[in-house]
Symmetry: C2
Subunit: 338 residues, 2 copies
Amino acid sequence: MITARKSPTMADVARLAGVSPMTVSRAFKTDSSVSEATRGSILRAADELGYVFDSTASNLRSQKTDFIAVTIPSINNANFAETVRGLTEVLKPRGLQILLGYTDYDMSEEERLIEQFLRRRPEAIVVTGGRHTPRARRMLEKAAIPVVETWDLPEDPIGHVIGFSNAAAVHGMVDHFVARGLTRIAFIGGDTSRDTRGADRRTGFIAAMQVYGLDATRLIAAGSPPISMREGAKAMGRLLDTLPDTQAVICVSDLSAFGALTECQRRGVDVPGRLWIAGFGDYEIAEIAVPALTTINPFPRAIGERTAELILDVMDGQQNGLARIAISPELLIRQSTG
Amino acid sequence: MITARKSPTMADVARLAGVSPMTVSRAFKTDSSVSEATRGSILRAADELGYVFDSTASNLRSQKTDFIAVTIPSINNANFAETVRGLTEVLKPRGLQILLGYTDYDMSEEERLIEQFLRRRPEAIVVTGGRHTPRARRMLEKAAIPVVETWDLPEDPIGHVIGFSNAAAVHGMVDHFVARGLTRIAFIGGDTSRDTRGADRRTGFIAAMQVYGLDATRLIAAGSPPISMREGAKAMGRLLDTLPDTQAVICVSDLSAFGALTECQRRGVDVPGRLWIAGFGDYEIAEIAVPALTTINPFPRAIGERTAELILDVMDGQQNGLARIAISPELLIRQSTG
DNA sequence: ACAGGGTATGTTAACGATAACATAAACAGG
DNA sequence: CCTGTTTATGTTATCGTTAACATACCCTGT
């Protein structure tokens, strides 16, 4: 800390090791042809000087950053975290690093992030969802790198797509309930379409109810998305107060579903005896709650893994056209529904 | 996509706008002195060409990356997520971007990450916890940037510290239970010290029990940290089977505490009637569970905010020596304990 | 009218690595 | 023994931006 002189460069290491800077550069990438003796003395010299490789220079000259930019709606969400883990796990062995940002479910924040990220010259960019501001969309379209939209199956994709239909998944859940003989089914979700995937789930609910000619107006709006356990509980309170004859509730996520369940526990409402509750996402809480919650597993880890594999294929020239990979969510029937 | 020619540079923009590249550079940083007319025509030219500012070149020349490197143990953890949110919120307005990586509670993975990150020349680096591999420690010591260790109060810190004593926090919880007259208290945690903060909590538990001359051997090891809800439930099963006279259980986190609670629900064990349960972290589930869980709030958001503020102060030359900021966790007594 | 000071722009060189090309030495095969 | 190939290293120029310095012009006050 006393001597704050400039940090050493490859030239310094080269001088100490008695070789040219180019040889030092080669010694630092494992695949290159440098004799073991030379590499040894270079690494020793680097260690002695406390040399730290400078990626910023390397990035500029080689026009490669080894960054994969990723935007997710929230960093505090087990589902998106799993997608990021899937991505990381596949990309790390290839020396690619994730540049992660979260949008707080805000499209204009997403736009800001995308702009920032593209300036850093990532090798590819992964975004969550298929809806973006016009400017964000334009930036992605013009970016000369692979673009992957995930967690959705947009009709008019920008580039590659790896996801599923949120609407169809919830539709399938309604199908199941109707097949079991229920008719008075409600939906708890956020009160705006900030969370577009949540809005799609509500859309799927309404569409399914209408297919069966059932009342599709039992919709409880529970605050600004993403709604929390607490908001789920409050919404359930309102539902029990205003539509007490409801037979089943589908919640926009497992978190709100669990909150709803706790409200039933507080009020002594028997689940599933008097009311069924289902969620979305297959969070850990859904499996362990008492009763365990019926939910939908969208395979978030697989979304991340497939996305990473696709990116690697594109980089290797193995993938030519634009991919559109549909993940099939799985309906998990548990004790909370019958 | 048809024309894949090289992307335009400032020189191209300059040519089209009829100015020098330097003026383009100035036009792209808001604070600089460029006439409104010139800036306008430059931005128009940039837009026409689809120019995207190249940070990699800027970073190299200006020796500034505007990156703040941050490593956390897990990306799927509401507590660490809050810390990252606190960091982001304070750093974003200053144009600083977080370079986030997670270690999976693995010190050698942390070492790998730190090395990768330092190569990217961040303006500062934030790590979670005070224990690192010798090499990681050396790299941080030699890094010519501010280093902040968080979520802990290490005795021999590398640089700045913003955190709290996990041991002392749990000690305080034991104090409370003992004051309420309990003597047979157990601890549920992971079975290795991979999660050093979890291990510190167990240490604090044992120390406190010994202070009161109580049996400090009611320790249930529940798998590799961080332990999940499921593992918490399994551990509670073992506790009820082997030490049925236990009066209270302190769990290493709210997640395992909630898992433990569900096991009691499945077995018909009354909480808090027959057994008290407490957790750590003040996750949302602790507040909404029925009964609500007693826990400890370590103010993860504040840790992030204070850390970011400290970094800004150091960068502004407002902070000279090494900071050591102690956060005081808050004990939250809820229905699950009495 | 002229020194003094700000404002708007230009010129030059450099940040630290490496792609592309060049070369010397070692080696192999007929 | 000589040509052809491989292996290990060196030389040169460059990636795209901006720090540092230079300059031209327009004020303003006395």
